[in-house]
């Protein structure tokens, strides 16, 4: 076989290996982004689906149980309120009205979202809120 043929086979093997990693990685570690209203309105129970849910934090609902390192709170879309438990500490900027992004699983029976990762995006971060007179 010519050397150039061997080189091409080598290239194809590497490309195929990377392609395999990407495809298998995508299917095992992906989640659906849904709205809070989807969880309540839809017939689907989303069991075993890794979900990503955006919402606004309800400030009064935050409770931290330090003994068990368990944070409970609710997020809302203005219509529904979704209760969340999260076995970790408060993320930064965890204040009333903060835009919260939940990742985890939804237990429809008990209506609770078991978060594995919670990130916040402060509404005033970087770009300031509308200035005084605007």
């Amino acid at each position: 076989m010519k050397q150039s043929g061997k080189i091409i086979i080598g290239i194809l093997i590497i490309v195929a290996a990377i392609g395999y990693l990407i495809i298998s990685g995508t299917s095992s570690f992906s989640g659906y982004q849904v709205e809070i209203s989807d969880l309540f309105d839809s017939e689907k129970d989303y069991k075993d689906d890794y979900l990503l849910v955006p919402g606004k934090l309800v400030g009064d609902s935050v409770n931290f149980d330090g003994e068990n390192v368990q944070l409970t709170f609710s997020v809302t879309d203005g219509k529904y309120e979704l209760p969340v438990i999260y076995n970790d500490i408060e993320p930064d900027n965890f204040q009333d009205g903060a835009e919260v992004f939940l990742e985890g699983f939804y237990d429809k029976e008990n209506n609770i979202f078991k978060a594995e990762r919670v990130t916040t995006k402060c509404p005033s971060k970087y770009e300031g809120e509308k200035a005084l007179a605007e």
Binding site: Q3, S4, K6, I7, G10, I11, I14, V15, I18, L21, I22, G25, T26, S28, F29, S30, G31, Y32, Q33, V34, Y50, L52, P54, F64, G66, E67, V69, D88, I89, E90, D92, N93, F94, Q95, F101, E103, R117, T119, K121, C122, S124, K125, Y126, E127, G128, A131, L132, A133, E134
Partner: protein, 655 residues
């Protein structure tokens, strides 16, 4: 004053348009005077953007809150360094920084590059076109000199986000931008080479220094970002595969690939199309990164609010891509390579593998980053890939890349023999296998992946040491010089080569830190009352209570923790929460006890009962310090490799 800033930007637009037109006409008519005048235009753009930047710095320094940008990002009692660095805290200022840096680079290309007179008009047309885009955004979309409506001048500004009040704020954005903008220069030279159909390796030789410097700044930008995230965000890690982090890592990967594959073109006249494609991709990825940050299309900790800028960047990116692809495909016949690969075990082919892996990793990251957008467009649902995707996919690719990094420099050009391979790799391989097995049994958890990753890094480490040792031995025999002198002369006389090895050494140290924290970190989150202890590995942390102090107008709540290691007291740690007058939420300042072996990392999470009970997050991150040490070695190696004069040139061309 604000008018001066605004009008200099407006004037810079006019000058840019004139400069571009003048260059194009000068090219068509071969008019030397017009060309000189256009060069003057480049100087004028530099002057005007400098004036605008100085004006903005002045407003920030003097806390003139009638300027909206100053009002939005600073407050009176902010330390002066943070007042000034608020320059790039928002959209408008960071665009101005970009335009200013690009103007500086363009001026350097124009006035400090020798022997490139015939290429300058083409290169500068592309660079100034770029800058025109930024200037238009600055004047019409995001003007940093906008006044607060109604002519009011508030007494106090809104303050800088506490997370941005960190030394990282001074270094991270600037180095990253220097890197981003720096890649515009080799890109411009590449396109100029395509336009003029002079696609030899001149453009590569001329831009090598630019490429390496841009690469260095991009590396530094990423490292500073990692360090900042590590000390500021309090979750114990340095990298979260956030879309914006990915956006700065992707051009680094393709830029690294470019840096290596141009060596093959320099030496063997191969991979010409590939090199063109790589620099185009790298440049487009820098724009793509900016697009991601500005558009808010993805969830990210970095997102600036959507200010309509995203669409502009998308438009400009597509334009640049279309133009680049047009020139690349229309000149493709000129780029066909004369030479074939002679053997699949050779230096050439190992470079090819290195390139495939780097680009493959960049593609995997791109795929993961834009997957939500693709899936939404195709299937109507947003499917997002999570952090494990990036780790699981990139770990094998980047480990393979590191392995190739050990093989690549030592393997022979053209064709390598079994004898050559054995001769070069037997000892490093043997030592790596032994240490890998030893580490597997010695380290906790018996992580196969971790031990393998360590072994691969150790293999590369030994190949580097072996190269130094052999070079020294040969030179010592030939010259009879003493060993320390041999080392110095050997390195100084082959700066590109040994600079490269030093950079590789830096990368390996960084990789060791990534493996250490990735595979062997330990963490515990625990609530303790005064007098109680947290035990992690052989550390014992005793909580002595919460205290409070005033720092300027900020209130600092800190925990007093005494730390024992293996029974001996090694000092106190004080993780803090800082409450800012101008900000609702406190910011967490972690406490780190760092040694070369590991970092003990403590963050204060929350407290109750007036501070008698508090919750802490404690991490042990093995080898973490080596990430920063590796970073400094990388800088040293790059400066060493670039140092001009005798010994800085490439060896003879190998045909």
């Amino acid at each position: 004053m604000a008018q001066i800033g605004y009008f200099s930007l407006l004037l810079a637009i006019a000058v840019s348009i004139y400069t571009i037109a003048a260059y194009i006409i000068a090219i068509k008519t071969d008019n030397c005077r017009l060309r000189a005048s256009a060069n003057g235009g480049v100087a004028a753009i530099l002057l005007l953007t400098t004036i605008a930047s100085v004006v903005l710095f002045y407003f920030l320094a003097t806390s003139d809150f009638s300027i909206k940008y100053v009002y939005d990002y600073t407050s009176k009692n902010l330390p002066i360094l943070y007042k000034l660095s608020a320059f790039w805290a928002g959209n408008a200022g960071s665009l101005l920084l970009w335009a200013w840096l690009l103007a500086i680079y363009t001026a350097v290309v124009t006035f400090l590059t020798r022997g490139q007179e015939e290429n300058i008009p083409y290169v500068n047309t592309i660079l100034v076109l770029n800058n025109l885009f930024f200037l238009i955004l600055l004047v019409f979309i995001a003007n940093p000199f906008t006044k607060i409506p109604g002519g009011m001048s508030p007494v106090e500004g809104k303050g800088l986000n506490p997370m941005l009040q960190n030394p990282g704020m001074i270094f991270h954005p600037v180095t990253l931008y220097l890197g981003y903008v720096g890649f515009a220069v080799p890109y411009a030279y590449a396109i100029a080479a395509l336009i003029t159909k002079k696609v030899g390796d001149t453009w590569i030789k001329v831009t090598r220094r630019w490429t390496v410097i841009a690469w260095l700044f991009l590396s530094l930008g990423n490292l500073y970002g990692a360090q900042w995230a590590y000390v500021e965000l309090g979750w114990g890690g340095f990298w979260a595969w956030d879309p914006v982090e990915n956006a700065s890592f992707m051009p680094w990967l393709t830029g690294t690939a470019f840096l290596h594959s141009v060596m093959i073109q320099e030496r063997k006249d191969m991979l010409k199309i590939w090199n063109m494609a790589l620099i185009i991709i790298t440049y487009i990825l820098t724009l793509f990164g900016t697009f991601l940050v500005r558009s808010g299309v993805l969830q990210s900790v970095h997102s600036f609010n959507n200010s309509g800028l995203g669409t502009w960047f998308l438009f400009f990116m597509c334009l640049a891509l279309a133009v680049s692809l047009y020139f690349l495909t229309s000149r493709i016949n000129l780029l066909k390579q004369a030479r074939q690969f002679e053997s699949y075990i050779s230096k050439e082919s190992s470079f090819l593998i290195n390139n495939l892996l780097l680009v493959g990793s960049a593609f995997a990251i791109l795929w993961g980053t834009v997957f939500p957008l693709i899936s939404e467009a195709i299937r109507g649902v947003r499917v997002t890939v999570s952090v494990p995707y990036f780790n699981k996919v990139n770990a094998p690719i980047l480990l393979a890349m590191i392995f190739v990094m050990g093989v690549c420099p030592l393997i022979a050009w053209r064709r390598s023999s079994l004898k050559n391979l054995l001769n070069n790799f037997m000892w490093p391989l043997l030592l790596a296998v032994i240490s890998g097995v030893a580490l597997y049994f010695y380290l906790p958890g018996q992580e196969l992946y971790g031990a393998l990753a360590y072994a691969i890094n150790i293999f590369v480490l030994f190949t580097i040491f072996q190269e130094f040792y052999r070079g020294m031995r040969v030179r010592h025999r030939a010259t009879g010089e003493a060993y320390p002198l041999v080392l110095i002369r050997l390195m100084v006389r082959n700066r590109r080569r040994y600079g490269g090895y030093i950079i590789h050494l830096g990368i390996i140290l960084i990789a060791l830190a990534v493996v250490g924290t990735g595979a062997y970190k330990q963490e515990v989150t625990q609530q303790v009352s005064v007098g109680e202890k947290i035990v992690i590995d052989d550390y014992t942390l005793t909580f002595n209570g919460l205290r409070q102090r005033l720092e300027g107008e900020n209130t600092v709540v800190y925990a007093d923790i005494s730390v024992d290691k293996g029974g001996t007291n090694i000092g106190a740690l004080t993780p803090e929460n800082v409450f800012y007058k101008t900000w609702d939420q406190p910011s967490s300042e972690v406490a780190i006890h760092g040694t070369l072996a590991e970092d003990l990392y403590v963050a204060l999470a929350s407290w109750k009962d007036k501070g008698r009970t508090a919750t802490f997050k404690v991490h042990i991150n093995p080898l973490m310090s080596w990430m920063w040490i590796g970073g400094y070695i990388l800088v040293l190696g790059t400066i060493f490799a670039l140092w001009p004069g005798r010994g800085s040139r490439l060896g003879p061309k190998y045909k």
